[in-house]
């Protein structure tokens, strides 16, 4: 099986990102959420609620 370290992966993708002229973030559109299952919506809701209880914002933006 092919193997790569997480550092190596990051470096290789970072090089491609630079080659493509992408700098900073926001160049990939987030999921529309249209195909999200009810189970997935519930999971994301529960994670967001648990984060709120800890006084944190969930890192993801999702329509659930």
């Amino acid at each position: 099986m092919r193997e790569i370290t997480i550092e190596e992966l990051a470096v290789r993708v970072s090089q491609k990102k630079a080659e493509m002229g992408y700098s900073g973030g926001g160049f990939v559109q987030p999921n529309s959420g249209r195909r999200r299952t009810e189970s997935k919506r519930a999971l994301l809701r529960n994670i967001a609620a648990a984060a709120a209880e800890r006084g944190e914002e969930p890192p993801f933006k999702a329509n659930y």
């Binding site: 290789r12 970072s14 160049f27 997935k40 919506r41």
Partner: protein
């Protein structure tokens, strides 16, 4: 720890690796990471996923190991989830299937992502990941343009691609409606915007 990826993702990957090791220790094939978290890895964190989607036929074994690693079943008011969440990390894990892309994905092309603690997670190959996004795009009459955008960006950022296999997989996943030529045209058009 990788400075390129958010710490919560890396921590969750380590826990999934631990659970995967437990499954492998029983002589089973390692569970495979698919979906949004695989896209997050391949785009250097440009897409942030709320959970890690896993494919494995040994769901019960994996989920038991996941609980040992610190995840708990996700329970919320009035809603049911098959997933797990971590008490301290804003991240979930869900087994979304028993076979890779319902048997069409390639286990031979799955790669092992080695983490800095020595453990590893098996990850779907970039070609199957792109084909999966193309399948999500191909939902007429209202095509999912976000999924197409992700496919384009994955294609642009891929550093190793088997184009013959990718073409075959896009055709398969879109029932012949699209192919690699279509994706390349879109990716290069956006590139020249």
């Amino acid at each position: 720890m990788s400075e390129f990826y958010r710490p919560e993702l890396v921590e969750a990957l380590k826990l999934v690796a631990e659970a995967s090791d437990a499954v492998a220790a029983d002589g089973h094939q390692r569970p495979v990471l698919v979906g949004g978290a695989a896209v997050e890895l391949a785009t250097l964190g440009e897409l942030i996923s709320g959970d890690l989607d896993i494919v494995t036929p040994w769901q019960a074994d994996f989920e038991a190991a996941l609980e040992k690693a610190g995840f708990v079943r996700s329970v919320g008011p009035g809603s049911f989830s098959r997933g797990f969440q971590h008490p301290n990390l804003s991240v979930g894990v869900e087994v979304v299937g028993s076979t890779l892309m319902d048997g069409r994905g390639s286990y031979d092309r799955v790669f092992l992502l080695r983490l800095d603690n020595g453990r590893a997670v098996s990850v779907i190959c970039i070609e199957d990941l792109i084909a999966d996004r193309m399948a999500q795009y191909n939902c007429p009459p209202s095509y999912d343009l976000q999924a197409l955008d992700q496919a384009e960006k994955l294609y642009q950022l891929a550093f190793e691609l088997d184009k013959t296999y990718l073409d075959k997989r896009i055709v398969e996943e879109t029932s012949g409606d699209f192919d690699l030529a279509f994706l390349e045209k879109k990716a290069y058009a956006r590139d020249n915007d």
